[in-house]
Symmetry: C2
Subunit: 716 residues, 2 copies
């Protein structure tokens, strides 16, 4: 459809296009790594080889848990209900989202295995005649029970069938756009067009759905991202199927060469300049210790949680519970955690760049852009893979296979240790290896790859890690190297290859963390370290720090900017649950390396992404407030963001509250990022603080020699 | 000697005491993990089983490299030279340090394997008649070539034979101190005395070497740290062997019970409340890929460096070089890197606590307090272990076995990845597993354990990680739980067990990073991200960021406090070495989570630890400036710190420069830290930036199924 025959143009559509192809795939057997031979764990319940069975079960059987995603059958049922829905009788709308409308929290919390599920409902976002419908479909009643037409700003997540292909077709059908391509002497056989989102920048492009179209050249390389046709952008009105504007400022900028940009292993013609690394593997002679029950319930060591893939959020953890180290009680830690939005502003005011201020979750979808993980390379051996069941814009379900992996990690790290000298009978060498459980997804949002890890530790800590890899978004430059650039300071980023600028940009990933520490009603406590001066004669010391606890009463009390020189710990506690000593049970959010958005608060992209104006927020729980940039993000004007909700200043003390944390990165590219970037990571932790009565892994056993596997190279 | 018979008192001396016992150990075979059977790599050069040979070689043979530590023979030779040295003829001094006086940099840099070594010299710190001698001994000339008596402040690192045992003996021989113990009804058979350093707090304890003595009870537990005898401190003049002062304010504070404080595996009487974790191991069917040549030269993948243990600094990395990904040239990255000082101020102005402001490297020694790592638990299988050869206070050498381990890590992480959609012939799933090399040491400085990891990545990145585990330093409280505390806000930390307060404290680890990017002459560049406003009509965007490079001309330009809202990258570059595009070759320091010291700059402990007043400093290279708190730290007054050197404001542009980075932690304890703390880590990275022409691991191969080992549980 996009391969317009008159031009033989191939167009890849920024991040969503492949969905179409995937949606055509049959429900095929996923690739599955089985070590040769059958170790004892092959026959255990959590064996890797059970995967195929469980996936087919997921695809075909009924949901097992109130939070299970809609099944293929349920999606088909919703589509059928919509097709009979009166307002859509004459014309079926384009479906932009169709997913489980999760039951109310109390229904989920009171549900026990064996109980009938709460009524299954779907939340549908559909577009018909340029109107966005937000519908609730009750599958039991078999009808639409709510239909709200959006009256605010913003449009649904872009879709390939109805939006992106249209945009590219419209641009390529435009004579001026074509002429510009021809004038550049571009061989159209290798043209690849991408579709950056348009953002929102005031009246000019308001009240109509517009998108940008830019093209690259894939001649000689699959890494077309490194061969931009700089300074040529079509702005397309998707609904009216017309080119609104063409910007053509880059006529004098050559298309960078494709030399050395192909990153595929099969394209490498010599080994790297290093001694080879011998094979290395995480081995588990008795198999992994986790199991996945009913398709989504993960049980491992002292943890239990619900794991699923979501088309927009990507990887979703729900009902995370950890076992009390004294009583064995399974205690609630987090009701739901996921990446709510991902904001990526590029730092170039140029006509062809200013709008590159992506909101990848709401504009493209983190699950939608996640592709099958590569066994042994994206995830270690013994990983368990989980599929996503998503919905195309015609309402048809499709399977995105193996987009989540789950594995046990041993990295040679130490859980705790202490050595004591040999005198006095205390010659002690105690150490415990750290083994963790990781749930991973990698979203390839066009050029960039985002790796999301949720790592669970037996000491109760959850580490949430974001890794960035993939390709830079680069800018063509008329200059071959920096010696030729008249004023290098004026470039919007460093040169990373000949005629290629790596434009400076930021990444912000905002996590929705609905903490429920031992129940829904929690409080947010800022434990501020304050410098105190000693009074004269009090002490030889002049100063010391004191921890001052401040309970946040309302949302505005919990708008937090991290400060190195005014530090705090940030606790979510249950004021009703006290340890035997009287300390409230809690978890703290522990920031790692971070970066803040520095853009003007009234700059349009920052208005829309105002959720990055603080690193931490706490809001009163409202089931509709899931998406930090709003439900309808595309071209939104910032009227439905976390920042807006927080300004309502609702009470949050001893209430059901949601913690929001943003991980940020400033990225000044360098040559090492070309043609594909070594992974950069940052993380933060959710760490128990007086949640347990004492170190919960005190009694964990060490590793003994007898437990280790006996390994050989496979005979050749 | 300390086991005073009249009291049957066992005294463990804070962190150094065990040295004595270790020093009595014969040069015994280190424990060595060999998997049953002999895999093919057994016969390869870097096989683990070669370890014993290499260690004995280190102990007995001549040094192989200019930076190799002094051998046992050389130490014996130095001792002999000192014994004939005229000023020591009548009385041999106490030896507080005896280690290699490293040759000048140019001698090391011009040395090639096969060349004769530059003259071997020793740096000796000795104390005689309360005077500190700093001596240089030339082993070739066979004489002392320099002898400087310290005229500034500060004393050498504490030593067990001459200082700490004296202090405990003096305290225990004191009638008032004894009476205080008896009044508390303490059974003396289980008394353990520790010796916190005295710090420096002005004239009262000036110009004499004093130390504090406090005791704990080990009845029923080896974890005597959790059973402090609160509020009883003897201040002892070590040289005059007299008690200067006794503080006895804690008569009403009970000694906390020992229940549930024993952390030894053998003491646990029930399993943890979790499902067992199956055995898991990093396996390498063909053995590890690194090798250690000549006892200290580590070669792995594209890295080569010199690794050794130092009694004060712990783990030292020298001459770190990485292979150029284009030319294969071995290029210099760092001349020397190590933990220069470790500052731990506790936040309690109480008479028995104010002085707890440790400087662990200079006061106790990070190598001196490192004990043998526990195979399979501190370090994974296939680790290579390295010993330290240290010197006791009588000048005798001794071996601290297996205090460094070196291993290859595969943690299931991704080096780089990209997925591309299936349309247009670009169905791409490329991912590369991340395999790294880790050098590790764990110092048990009394209660606390510090795990130091230097992790080398094939993409050129070095991650330096500090992990904290071991025991809290706790304070006895009259109160059983917080309900009984009249004013909980007044406590100096949270209650972590009955009658036990975990006192709030900080940790700061300052690293000396002598970066030599492609040679000694480097510059420090702050790449500041500055917000720019667009002018009217320039762009629909109002703001964007611009990277502004500023080369530091002098040391004061490079006194850096990290700022979230005024962010920079921090590059060490070689201005003479440019990439093909013209970018200078460099490495940047990338902070992770961090904390700053907030104490008054004129507070005595902060004066001494003024090196923590900034997170980053850059100084002109001076071979004498190795120790951030000064060469003689004990009771120093801050006259020889990094802060003092930096104030000289020497030129640093295109000079031989040293980068200093401080990793900080604020620690507000919690119940989970009792009775032993789950490891908390923080790290920072040294990351190539335009050092390579492009991604140096582009051509790295993926892992294939055929490379994986075939593993089984060992037949029972």
């Amino acid at each position: 459809m996009v391969r317009a025959s008159f031009l033989r143009i191939s167009c890849i559509l920024f991040t969503l296009f492949f969905l179409f192809a995937i949606s055509l795939y049959p429900l095929k057997r996923p690739k599955f790594q089985d070590p040769s031979g059958c170790a004892p764990w092959c026959s255990s319940k959590n064996r890797i080889s059970s995967k195929l069975g469980s996936i087919l079960e997921t695809k075909t059987s009924a949901p097992q848990h109130p939070l299970d995603p809609l099944t293929i059958q349920e999606i088909n049922q919703v589509r059928a209900i919509l097709s009979y829905y009166e307002p859509f009788a004459s014309s079926f709308p384009a479906i932009y989202s169709l997913s489980l409308d999760e039951p109310d929290k109390d229904q989920v919390l009171s549900w026990r295995k064996g109980d009938p599920l709460p009524p299954r409902k779907a939340l549908v976002i559909a577009l018909l005649n340029a109107r966005t419908h937000i519908l609730t479909v009750d599958l039991e009643l078999g009808r639409v029970i709510s239909d709200i037409v959006n009256s605010g700003s913003g449009y649904p997540t872009l879709s390939i069938q109805d939006d992106i292909s249209t945009a590219v077709q419209v641009a390529l059908a435009n004579a001026e756009f074509n002429k510009s391509l021809i004038q550049r002497g571009i061989s159209t056989s290798d043209l690849v067009c991408i579709t950056p989102s348009a953002g929102w920048f005031g009246p000019d492009e308001e009240n109509r759905r517009v998108i940008k179209v830019q093209c690259c050249v894939s001649e000689g390389t699959p890494n077309f991202y490194m061969r931009p046709i700089e300074g040529l952008t079509a702005t397309v009105d998707i609904d009216n199927k017309e080119v609104v504007k063409i910007s053509n400022t880059g006529r004098d900028i050559p298309i960078p060469k494709g030399t050395n940009t192909d990153y595929r292993f099969t394209a490498q013609n010599r080994p790297p300049e290093m001694e080879p690394i011998n094979p290395i593997s995480i081995e588990q002679p008795k198999g992994p210790s986790f199991r996945v029950e009913d398709g989504h319930i993960v049980k491992w060591a002292n943890w239990e949680f619900h794991l699923k893939a979501d088309q927009r959020a990507g990887l979703v953890i729900s009902r995370a519970m950890v076992r009390d180290s004294e009583s064995g009680e399974l205690r609630s830690v987090m009701y739901k955690g996921f990446a709510s939005e991902l904001y990526v502003p590029y730092m170039d005011p140029d006509e062809n760049w200013y709008f590159k201020t992506y909101m990848d979750a709401g504009e493209f979808g983190l699950g939608a852009t996640a592709m099958a993980l590569v066994p042994l390379n994206d995830c270690p051996r013994y990983s368990y893979y989980m599929d996503g069941i998503f919905v195309a814009s015609d309402g048809q379900p499709f399977v995105q296979p193996s987009i989540i992996c789950l594995f046990e990690r041993y990295a040679g790290d130490i859980s705790w240790r202490h050595s004591e000298g040999p005198i006095f009978g205390f010659e002690i060498r105690e150490a415990r290896p750290k083994v963790t459980l990781v749930a991973r997804m990698a979203a390839s949002v066009g050029n960039y790859d985002y790796i999301f890890d949720w790592e669970f530790q037996t000491d109760g800590l959850i580490r949430i890690k974001v890794g960035l890899s993939g390709m830079l978004m680069v800018k063509g430059s008329p200059y071959y190297n920096i010696y030729k650039v008249p004023n290098p300071e004026e470039m919007s980023g460093p040169m990373v290859s000949e005629n290629v600028i790596g434009v400076v940009h930021d990444h912000f990933v905002t996590f929705h963390l609905d903490m429920d520490i031992d129940g829904a009603n929690n409080s947010f406590v800022e434990v501020n370290l304050v410098k105190k001066q000693t009074s004269k004669g009090e002490s030889p010391r002049k100063s010391y720090l004191k921890a001052k606890r401040k309970v946040a009463k309302t949302e505005k009390d919990a708008q937090i900017k991290l400060k190195l020189y005014d530090p705090s710990e940030f606790h979510v506690i249950n004021p009703s649950r006290r340890s035997r000593l009287g300390n409230p049970a809690g978890y703290k959010v522990v920031p790692g390396g971070n970066a803040a958005s520095l853009l003007d608060h009234d700059d349009p992209p920052q208005l829309r992404s105002a959720f990055t104006n603080n690193q931490i927020w706490v809001t009163a729980y409202d089931r509709s407030e899931q998406w930090a940039g709003g439900l309808l993000v595309y071209q939104s004007r910032g009227d439905d963001t976390l920042a807006v909700w927080s300004e309502r200043d609702r009470p949050i003390d001893n209430k059901d509250i949601v913690l929001w944390y943003t991980v940020g990165f400033h990225h000044i590219p360098c040559q090492e990022d070309f043609p594909v970037m070594p992974t950069v990571t940052s993380s933060f932790d959710l760490k128990p603080v007086n949640f347990f009565e004492s170190n919960p892994i005190l009694r964990a056993p060490p590793t003994f020699q007898k437990d280790l596997p006996f390994c050989q190279s496979i005979p050749s």
